[in-house]
């Protein structure tokens, strides 16, 4: 059983982790919508320091409204950015942004 299902609203955490992370700065603290569950993968933060023993973590594909990520740019309202985010970087969204 995964923590999130397709359609769930999630918010990206700002975990302040040092070292190699795969969650870009521009998406942290933003809310999006889970579009797909990708399966479990070894955590790249562990792999980056040679730890290959796991545990494997859930990975989700999450869509964000582009206009909310880049408020200074002229972007069609329906445009979304989809990136893959590991479970420990996500929390249920508290915001009221429109779902993409």
């Amino acid at each position: 059983m995964t923590r999130f299902a397709v359609g769930d609203r999630v918010q990206v955490l700002a975990l302040r982790k040092e070292g190699h992370v795969r969650i870009p700065y521009y998406v942290r603290n933003h809310a999006g919508c889970v579009t797909e569950y990708c399966g479990t993968y070894l955590n790249p933060e562990d792999l980056a320091v040679g730890k290959t023993s796991g545990p494997a973590v859930d990975l989700y594909r999450v869509a964000f409204v582009q206009r909310l990520l880049w408020p200074d740019d002229v972007i069609p309202a329906q445009d979304t950015l989809v990136i893959e985010i590991y479970d420990h970087w996500l929390t249920p969204a508290q915001d009221t942004d429109h779902a993409p």
């Binding site: 700002a14 302040r16 040092e18 190699h20 870009p24 521009y26 942290r28 980056a48 040679g50 290959t52």
Partner: protein
Amino acid sequence: MQDDKGSKGYHDVGGDPAGEIPKVELPWLHWEKQVEAIRGLLGDGTRRIVSLDEVRRGFESFGIDKYNSLSFYRRRLEAMTDILIEKGIVTQAELDSAIKAGTTRWSDLDETP
């Protein structure tokens, strides 16, 4: 840089102003393919000697000047050798001597009429 979103590495440039995107197809050079082939072998599921994420951690530790001065595959190559040395899989002396031997071999070929 550290704020309420945590740190932003120099490699984490998504959304930064970057000017015009050069729309030219670059050739994929032979040595670049070799770098990628060796990286693939080092990181595959049976060997797990150096993972892609270790390589990324390597070039994310270069410092911004070195990072910006190197091409995509040069970064991967330098980071890969850094990690191999860090893990004690090869020594700096072994690497230096292999580079010297390779350089000599190719120089000799260049001089062949």
